[in-house]
């Protein structure tokens, strides 16, 4: 491993905390891989050895797990992971067109990263926001009800170093590494940031209220 002393000490301390959440150490592997990505920006060879060391596994055992899951990247990822949903519902509502225009705009195919290291573009599968179709995710924050123009604007703003606000989520999208640290289970203090629940989320409640309906009280 080529981590410097400080990095390794921090990683080790974090890893011990993660392992402590589980009755059996190996359960910590998925969050540990997220932790490695929060430092290296991908699952690096060093990161694989680190996880293996922490859990008493072989590098091969760790690699076998890392390669199974799409969120673990095998090459250095961009600062911003931009994913356009092209599963059926989003694709038909316009996701296919958004993908075509965005891909052409960036000159990137799915999985490729821009030369400046800012953007990794990806076609993604259903992200459980179908009532907001067509949907795009940036570092796993929701960008709902997109158009080709709005999607290109988001990417242009990110590349220009401007803050970008998701439609549901915190006040600005954090970097890939910062988000990966949250996914390793470390709070970043942004949970109370909010852009509103969102129209579709409240649609049923509002329709019920408009008619004066509620579930009968016991």
């Amino acid at each position: 491993m080529t981590y410097d002393e400080g990095t390794l000490a921090q990683l080790t301390a974090d890893a011990q905390q993660i392992i402590g959440r589980y009755p059996v150490a190996r359960s910590a592997l998925l969050p540990l891989l997220h932790l490695v990505q929060s430092v290296d920006g991908f699952v690096s060879p060093d990161g694989i050895s680190f996880c293996a060391d922490q859990l008493g596994l072989t590098d091969a055992e760790v690699s076998a797990v890392a390669t199974f899951y799409t969120q673990y990247k095998r090459r250095p990822n961009g600062e911003y992971q931009v994913g356009v949903c092209t599963n059926t519902l989003c694709a038909i509502m316009g996701g296919d067109r958004i993908w075509d225009e965005l891909s052409s705009h960036c000159g990137l195919r799915s999985g490729e990263t821009s030369e400046d290291g800012q953007i990794t573009l990806e076609r993604i599968e259903c992200n459980a926001a179908c009532d907001y179709a067509p949907v795009m995710m940036v570092n796993w924050e929701f960008f709902d009800n997109q158009t080709p123009e709005s999607a290109k604007q988001v990417v242009d703003d990110l590349r220009a170093g401007k803050d970008v606000t998701p439609t549901r989520g915190p006040s600005k999208v954090r970097t890939f590494k910062e988000v990966e640290r949250v996914l390793a289970g470390f709070e970043d203090g942004l949970a109370n940031e909010d852009q509103g629940a969102g129209g579709p989320t409240l649609a049923g409640l509002e329709a019920a209220k408009a008619s004066g309906w509620k579930a009968e009280q016991a």
């Binding site: 059926t88 038909i92 067109r97 459980a128 924050e141």
Partner: protein
């Protein structure tokens, strides 16, 4: 008579900071836990059995019965694992539930864990929703600080640890045994059953795996009572549930209603199909459930009626498509999804979804033959019932049902040498089809 909407889980979603412990408590949150901790666990299990609550994650297995399958306490650990891996295409109910009111789930976890005698519970959340994870982490911390989790809960001598775990992108981890393997730090591949998780689940110990919405419904059942819950729904499909409308409707979203409501009724609340268009086909419960058409507008959306009409209630993910939509294109994209998400463990699913995708692509691109349509059905026949888990079966649903309902549309792709539909007409924003862009793979 119209079926009224019944917001229960969603009742406080429009309140200020609805996701905080403060808001939840102000609205009576954690009263049910208090009540539960003063109730013998066997009575809690019986109450959930009596409520008729059935798994809200798709399969519809009776929740209380699942709890009852655990073997008698042997003094060693047993676990509750909440399946929050919501990934079935079209399904979008658990994510808003956890984003807007994570405490309903956490209270449900505490009650359920107490009922089944577990001292360590897990929420397995898909990793691709970071703000939901933030809200869950914060809510769990708040619950520990308030004494709803941790040691000696409410001073009643009951201890519970709750770990919220983020996955890393794999649809198969929504399958309960694959989820357990993933939670154990392995590749998420399904296990041979039996043994069922109730006997040998997480770390080979007795384990209950339940969906978010099922567990989040438990506090309301405990608090308001079995009679209240069973006053909603139909004879064998009790209670309320989310109906998630998406696609070509004017007001897509989450509609919490008694089971047995119809799409016709739901469309009324959702402002109808988008203006100037008409319903063509829809999924009652996500992409793994056979598609329906306008003929099924009045089919009661409960487990039995949807089953009798040839589909499945699934996750109540109603993806709605109007007449501009090409069914072959829709089915092709779902099939690509199953191919991408097939874990590779069993041959029928791994190879079958690969070939189905190739055939559907060539049909959509105008390179197919009439024989391809029969080949699709034959290949589906080789997968259905022969795959290791439900993913393979689910991959065949949209294909076989769409060929049955829209065979002439498949044939038109052959005779017309391509897709007869203007894809721009389906999009929710205008664009000129003529303005082509350089398409990347």
């Amino acid at each position: 008579m119209t079926t009224q909407l019944t917001p229960v889980l969603s009742a406080i979603w429009d309140q200020e900071k609805s996701w905080t412990l403060d808001t939840y408590t102000k609205n009576g949150g954690y009263n049910a836990l208090k009540k539960a901790l003063a109730t013998p666990p066997t009575d809690l299990i019986q109450a959930v059995k009596d409520s008729g609550l059935r798994g809200r994650g798709g399969a519809g297995f009776p929740t209380g019965m699942k709890w009852g399958f655990l073997p008698p306490d042997d003094g060693k650990p047993r676990y509750l694992v909440v399946n929050a891996d919501e990934s079935e295409p079209g399904t979008c109910k658990d994510i808003p539930t956890m984003l807007a009111n994570p405490h309903a789930l956490i209270e449900g976890v505490a009650i359920t864990s107490f009922a089944i005698g577990s001292n360590h519970a897990f929420i397995y959340l898909r990793g691709e929703v970071v703000h939901v994870y933030r809200r869950l982490l914060q809510a769990v911390r708040e619950a520990y600080e308030a004494g709803h989790l941790g040691q000696n809960i409410h001073g009643k001598g009951y201890n519970l640890e709750l770990t919220v775990h983020a996955g890393a992108g794999a649809y198969i981890c929504g399958e309960e045994t694959a989820l357990l393997d993933s939670l154990e730090g392995r590749r998420g591949q399904p296990r041979l059953k039996p043994p069922f998780p109730a006997v040998e689940g997480l770390y080979a110990r007795p384990t209950v795996v339940n969906n978010v919405e099922s567990i989040a419904s438990v506090p309301a059942i405990v608090d308001k009572g079995v009679e209240w819950f069973t006053s909603m729904g139909t004879e064998r499909s009790k209670g309320m549930g989310f109906f998630s409308l998406s696609g070509h409707v004017n007001k897509p979203g989450q509609y919490e209603a008694p089971l047995g409501i119809t799409l016709r009724e739901l469309l009324e609340y959702a402002g109808g199909i988008r203006d100037g268009h008409e319903l063509k086909f829809w999924t009652p419960g996500g992409s793994s459930t056979p598609i329906f058409t306008a003929e099924h507008l009045d089919t009661p959306l409960d487990y039995e009626s949807v089953g009798a009409a040839g589909s499945m209630l699934g996750t109540r993910a109603l993806q709605i498509f109007d007449e501009t939509t090409c069914v072959v294109r829709a089915v092709m994209r779902w099939t690509e999804f199953y191919k991408h998400e097939s874990c590779g463990k069993c041959t029928p699913c791994r190879e079958g979804t690969y070939w189905l995708t190739l055939i559907l692509k060539r049909l959509e691109n105008g390179e197919g033959t009439m024989a391809d349509i029969q080949q699709l059905l034959d290949t589906c026949d080789s997968i259905l019932g022969r795959a290791f888990c439900a993913l393979g079966d689910g991959a065949t649903s949209s294909i076989t049902s769409s060929i049955k309902l829209f065979r002439e549309e498949y044939e038109a792709h052959v005779t017309g040498a391509g897709c007869p539909f203007d894809h721009a007409a389906s999009a929710l924003f205008p664009y000129a089809t003529a303005s082509t862009v350089e398409v990347s793979a």
